[in-house]
Amino acid sequence: MNKVLSLSEAVERYIPDSVGFVTVGGMHLHNNPMALVREIIRQNRKIKRLLTSPCGALNAELLIAAGIIDEIATSYVGFEHIGLAPCFRRSIESGKLKVLECDEAYITHGLYAGAGGLPFMALPKGIEFTDIPNVNKEHYSFTTDPFTGNRVAVGAPLKPDVALLHAYQADENGNAVMAGAQFVDRYMALASKTVLLQVETIVPTEEISKHPQGTTIPGFLVHAVVEAPGGCYPTAAHGAYEFDDEHISKYMDMAKDDEGAKDYINEFVTGMTEGDYLKKAAGRLAELRYGDGILAADLSQRKG
């Protein structure tokens, strides 16, 4: 079944004006599905709750900058070695954004539970000695281990309504291949009701079938495939191009206050189409593209 849609169609069709629970793929400044994120901002969708991977970055920050998220469940939002994410920081400090404090293991196991219909996940010993379960009682609780009688910490299953994900390539059915690291994106796809996929290139099924074990996400989990070459920019797309630290730094400069963040959104997101944005970025993208050799996308280097 052909699931290829334009970027605007995919968001129009699968993201309601107000959507409950969205998860966004990618980790740190890698494989953030920025084309989908920007289009959601352009179409001014409201998101009740966003879940990041264990390390969110611009994928979450830009939605916060646009003011369209009420709550965020995360264990990290930032720009790693480059610095803190200004709007994430400011909107929590000012009380505008509710944060559901999580840790990496819970996000990973919680998605596993969501994918597998498990009622909850019993967590390894240790989390109860942190403050996290104290401040996030919606996701963390305690029960009895019937095998030992011990009281143990448990985490709630994570079952997003929508997952926004990037993959290196897919066929029109949504059979998708990730190059490089998969982070928790595959589990997001397994756990979510609706999966929107942006890819660098759409390829024929025969191309995917050459290495059936390289497929990361089977088509039956995917609802829309959007061809968005360069669509992770200014974050990296593994196998295609590196992140643009200059553009991230520029963003951080502009977003030092709410006014500046708005200016960035106006200038780089709502103020232009995705096509125009990428035309503007084309020069930098060319510089950031991986060369040949081991760093060019080696699709034999895949993990299921």
Binding site: M27, H28, L29, H30, P54, C55, T74, S75, Y76, V77, G78, E80, H81, L84, A85, F88, R89, R90, I92, E93, G95, E101, C102, D103, E104, A105, T108, H109, Y112, L123, P124, K125, G126, I127, F129, T130, D131, I132, V135, A179, G180, A181, Q182, F183, V184, Y187, A236, H238, G239, E242, F243, Y290, I294, L295, Q301, K303
Partner: protein, 264 residues
Amino acid sequence: MTVISNNLTASWSRSELMAVELAKRLRNDDVAVMGTASAIPQMACRLAQLTHAPDLYSIAGGTCSVNPHLAPVVPSCGDYDLLRADTSLSLNDVVLLEGRADVLTVFFAGGLQIDAYGNCNLVSVGDWAHPTLRGPGTVGLPFLSRVGRILIYTQSHNPRTFVEKVDFVGGPGFLRGPEEWKAADLPGGGPQLVVTPLCTMGFDPQTLRMRLETVHPGVDVDKVRAATGFDLIIPDSVPTTPEPTTEHLSILRALDTNGLLKGK
């Protein structure tokens, strides 16, 4: 390895010294994991592999590549370049092994706040619900309760970072001291080392509070005391941290062609 001039030795950076000190604590049979923004521990592991610990395994917590070749070292733990490596795991695998607790022996930790008992905080300063400074979040720090040895490193040695008690426990150290620590009966061995741009610190076996071990060349004990926001245990005699050797520096610089540790 060719011998290089003494000028090189003279010009080591604080970050290079920190990488060397961390490397010295790694053993040949360790499996070490690092997380976000981990150029220093990445280099420490590679240095150890190329010197006294050839069988050491190091895992870059983002891509989860095993023994990344780091030619050159990169600033992001999720970088595609890190997949130039011996092998790799999935993130889910690494999270599992962090739970299992008997396989991964070393974790490199840090924090916005680090307290006298080695508890770490990357979440918030002030009241969590109304923070004066919101940090990025705790990522995998709860794993500190389960790992064999915690090696803490930070580029910030000042009283805001080194506090008596963290405002939010995200990475458990020795909790509130011997009584709580014993009662908790955690699988992990607790924090072993703290490396900063000023000094190295360990933990007093009785009180489990941080104790000065060595001061870096050019740093005196009073400077460390003033930069630390709690009552640091200071032994009568505090040796000076050895300078990096020319061998160490030539290895580090061959890896760090991007200059991530240089002059910092």
